[in-house]
């Protein structure tokens, strides 16, 4: 082969590596810009008052988003309470009985559920929970978020458990350990970090959801710890305040946006750390 044609090939290689590298760098720019914007606009609102006080009436300066922080925490906790055990156990089933017809049906349902628009989930939970209780509530918001968490938890559990070697399960069975104990005490603990990653990612997914909360948790300008009353949430507060005519509320909305994005970033970093372990 001629030397010059070899040179051209090398040049093409470098060009290709350059292009894919450049695309990857371009991808990071939007995220960096988002953070830059949020920090410049919302950074100054974040202080102790912001985190510990409820909003003031329009026109008054100061106040914080404590009610929304409590609300989001409570909503995520309620959602996790049901979706984590249910999601893990379903994930165990479809990874254990990969070829059963039920598993196939479950997988399809999970895929469809994952693709269901969150606003639709909101409106359905409105009919299921809010109407019978004739009350917007944290419970209904928790149900809506819980439904959205399920697909992520089920899928990561299935994928994680699929990586656990059969030999480990056999080691336990051969010691005379019953099947259910083998799953609960060997298989799940061994896949724990993967399952935990799924849980963290599912939380980070729903923590910023607004649409399913519009007809369920509804929002509340005041502080409440009751799960039977309408409750605020960070994304709801952003929506309400950003569309209001008051400059102070706009400030709070920027601060809240920075807070929620920061939280999601943190959850993702923790999830990454857990996976590496």
């Amino acid at each position: 082969m001629k030397k010059s044609s070899l040179k051209i090939r090398h040049a093409k290689n470098y060009l290709f590596i350059g292009i894919i590298g450049l695309c990857s760098i371009l991808l990071m720019i939007p995220l960096i810009l988002i953070f830059y914007q949020l920090i410049t606009l919302g950074g100054k609102s974040i202080n102790l008052t912001f985190l510990t006080q409820i909003p003031k009436s329009p026109g008054e300066s100061g106040g914080g988003i404590y009610n929304a922080i409590v609300g989001t925490t409570l909503l995520v906790a309620l959602a996790s309470l049901v979706s984590i055990p249910l999601g893990i156990l379903t994930g165990v089933y479809i990874s254990e009985y990969q070829n059963s017809r039920l598993s196939g049906a479950v997988r399809t349902c999970v895929d469809i559920l994952q693709g269901t628009p969150s606003i639709v989930i909101g409106i359905i939970v409105y009919t299921w929970v809010v109407r019978p209780m004739s009350q917007f509530s944290a419970i209904s918001g928790g149900v809506a978020l819980g439904i959205m968490m399920l697909p992520v938890i089920i899928k990561t559990t299935e994928e994680t458990l699929g990586l656990i070697p059969m030999s480990l399960k056999e080691a336990s069975l051969a010691l005379g350990v019953p099947y259910y104990k083998t799953i609960l005490k060997v298989v799940i603990p061994t896949g724990f970090s993967g399952i935990l990653t799924g849980i963290l990612l599912s939380i980070s997914r729903v923590a910023g959801e607004t649409a399913p909360l519009l007809f369920t948790a509804f929002g509340n300008a005041f502080l409440t710890y009751s799960i039977f009353k309408p409750i605020s949430a960070i994304p709801l507060l952003i929506f309400n305040y950003a569309t209001s005519p008051y400059e102070e509320w706009h400030q709070l909305a920027w601060g809240a946006s920075l807070l929620v994005v920061g939280m999601i970033l943190l959850l993702n970093l923790v999830a990454k750390g857990v996976t590496k372990r």
């Binding site: 070697p165 030999s167 480990l168 056999e170 080691a171 336990s172 069975l173 051969a174 010691l175 005379g176 350990v177 019953p178 104990k181 083998t182 005490k185 060997v186 603990p189 061994t190 724990f192």
Partner: protein
Amino acid sequence: MTESVLRLDHFNFFIGENQILNDINLKFQRKKVTAIMGPSGCGKTSMIRCINRMNEWVKNARVEGEILFYGKNLFQMDPILLRRKIGMVFQRPNPFPTMSIFENVIAGYLLNGIKLSKTDKERIVEDSLRKAALWDEVKDGIHRKGTFLSGGQQQRLCIARALAMNPRLLLLDEPTSALDPKATSHIEELIIELKKTVTIVLVTHNIAQASRVSDFTAFLYLGELVEYGETTKMFTVPEDKRTEEYLTGKFG
């Protein structure tokens, strides 16, 4: 003749339409090492997995005939209780990655929820690790994770884990196939030592290993028991032509 611990009586094993084992009649002597030898796919592993009923997890698996364990048909026993009396060590070392060395040894008790006092735990762990010739190497780091050990040490840990349950029978499924020669010779010495206290069934595709450690040898070929007898005799004057050909490396 010494007492037989385990006897296969007109035993057949099928997976779906395929017959894996064909009319096996075999007796295992107490406190002896019996090697099951044969080329890949001859049914060696299937056979010992029938003995502790691990094959029941295989889809469409079916057995005919009997396996008698101390005179009782083991297919009528509770598989969970049976497996506590029959220990098994697998081809690849498989210590529990979430557990320390200490916990791995008593995993059979921990996972079954059997309560032990602290002194009992320590006694069982030390005894089992000594029997598995691992105690001296790990006694200073017994609460470290078992997965930090070398392959050979992990396999001895798995043997200790099986011994901790005080089994009457120990099934070894090609226990050295994933190990280097040095670790292999360690395990072989250990097997010879262990037969003082426990009956051992050793599956191996390594002819030399069978001759080094076993008292009796069964030669399986295509799901049939071709020949069974004392190892020294079979390796010097095999009765069947197929055994002779296998031993001299003509196939397998």
